[in-house]
């Protein structure tokens, strides 16, 4: 199992280590619910160094990214970031990614840890014929995510950069606790917050400085309950090689007015299913549980869990496009009523 640069720090802070995408990472330090609520009310600090990072450089970088991603990379100004996806030849999704424009001809792509090798091979293949250089810098990059309503004020005490001037999706270089960092006002929790790209040797010092300033460490458990409550997709669950993103709530990411790899196949694939949010009357839904409209099986839960804010079980599920409900989820042999919920499940700023 691989370790992130913060492995020893996790042990010191009582992290319960589990394997995730080949890395030893903390599932929780104290309690998933406590960590979740601390992120929603104060500021939690996540080690997401397992995520992959690719540098994409060269005069053909923009043209290549327009071809390889579904969002409009041309709208991305230097110092800005956007959510996007890598389409495959069949109109499915290789991965969902975040793209940062660092300079005129230099981009940073953050990808899911489990997909690093797959994504890099796919991008290398697509890059043939483009004047572009791809470098996998995952091993040389530590990544922290400071998330929550107090993230900005807490981070401000450790940096000279004026964070009040930095909007959502901005990316910029700054020193944090005396260490060089690249900061981005992005995240995966539905809260305001920052992601900090660091040299591995600087990660522990910055991690400890943020904790000393009042952040609390949060683990993978809270990361998942936060993203679920925020209604964000997780690759391998809501998005897969076989998912047409046009059939999801994230269809807005796909810009049809431009050309991209697999576009014809994507446009030609009809939507059989739709993705819905469900709040259960009782019990906790889990991935794979069946969803029914009356007695008829109409779909399946792709992500399920407990919402610490609603204090109820919540789920993302794909159901037949025409299914109207009322919906019922089969929880361990028992049919439980579930109400449709808009996404996100809870009001977020």
């Amino acid at each position: 199992m691989k370790e992130t640069p913060l492995y020893q720090a996790h042990l010191r802070h009582g992290g319960r280590m589990v394997e995730f995408a080949g890395y030893a990472l903390p599932l929780q330090y104290t309690s998933i619910v406590e960590e979740h609520l601390f992120v929603r009310r104060e500021a939690g600090l996540f080690d997401v160094s397992h995520m992959g990072e690719f540098l994409i450089r060269g005069p053909g970088a923009l043209a290549f990214l327009q071809w390889a991603t579904v969002n409009d990379a041309a709208r991305l100004k230097v110092g800005r970031a956007q959510y996007s996806m890598l389409p495959n030849a069949q109109g499915g999704v290789v991965d969902d990614i975040y793209l940062y424009r660092l300079a005129e001809e230099e981009y940073l792509m953050v990808v899911n840890a489990a997909n690093i090798a797959k994504d890099f091979a796919h991008l290398k293949e697509l890059a043939r014929g483009f004047a572009v250089e791809l470098t996998d810098v995952s091993e040389e990059t530590a990544l922290l995510a400071l998330q929550g309503p107090k993230a900005a004020s807490l981070l401000q005490g450790l940096t000279e950069a004026d964070l009040s001037q930095r909007k959502k999706n901005e990316v910029f270089a700054a020193r944090v606790a005396g260490r060089p960092a690249r900061l981005a006002r992005t995240g995966y929790t539905g809260e305001d917050g920052f992601e900090l790209f660091l040299a591995p040797g600087d990660a522990e010092e910055v991690f400890e400085a943020l904790l000393a300033a009042g952040a609390r460490p949060a683990g993978l458990g809270a990361r998942d309950t936060l993203r679920l409550e925020a209604g964000f997709p997780l690759y391998g669950h809501e998005l897969t090689d076989a998912t047409n993103p046009l059939c999801t709530p994230w269809a807005w990411v796909v810009k049809r007015e431009k050309e991209y790899y697999g576009k014809e196949a994507m446009l030609a694939t009809p939507c059989a299913d739709k993705l819905i949010g469900l709040v259960l009357e009782v019990g906790i839904p889990r991935e794979g549980y069946g969803v029914y409209s009356g007695d008829r099986a109409v779909g399946r839960v792709t992500s399920g869990g407990y919402s610490p804010l609603l204090e109820k079980g919540i789920a993302l599920a794909y159901v037949e496009k025409e299914a109207e409900g009322p919906f019922v989820v089969e929880v361990r042999g028992r049919k439980v009523g579930a109400s449709l919920s808009p996404l996100p499940f809870v009001p977020l700023k």
Binding site: Q28, T225, G283, I284, Y306, R332
Partner: protein
């Protein structure tokens, strides 16, 4: 990990505390700690007859669902209704307020087949 000496244990991390001709059943401190935040408990119906080792209740934590097995054969005579509103009692007080159900064993003598505190301690050591 706390393992009170006044009761019996199973290898699957339930405890059984004799009270008159019944036993209270719950999960151990080790089990609640391993599960993490308990957020839902599916309780059995009072009057249900169960075999030793039969799944009787379900404890759901944020991360997983776990079956709770009958330590001995018998009849469910009471359930801890407080868990419906406050399932976190299992985390806060696993050996007390966090009890799950009460059984009337077919034979109180069956309790002797279970582990004592020292035996359960050995189970935990072998799992570590």
């Amino acid at each position: 990990m706390d393992i009170p000496k006044d009761r019996f244990y199973t290898k699957t991390h339930e405890w059984a505390l004799p009270e008159g001709d019944t036993v209270l059943v719950g999960i151990t401190d080790y089990a609640q700690d391993a599960l993490g935040d308990v957020v839902y408990v599916e309780l059995p119906e009072v009057g249900r007859r169960v075999e030793k080792g039969e799944a009787v209740a379900v404890v759901e934590s944020v991360k997983t669902a776990s079956d709770i097995y009958a330590p001995v054969a018998g009849e469910v005579v009471e359930v801890n209704a407080a868990l419906e509103k406050t399932p976190e009692l299992i985390n806060q007080d696993p050996y007390g307020e966090g009890w799950i159900f009460r059984l009337r064993p077919l034979d109180m003598g069956h309790l002797d087949d279970l582990l004592d505190a020292a035996g359960y301690q050995e189970v935990l050591e072998s799992e570590a």
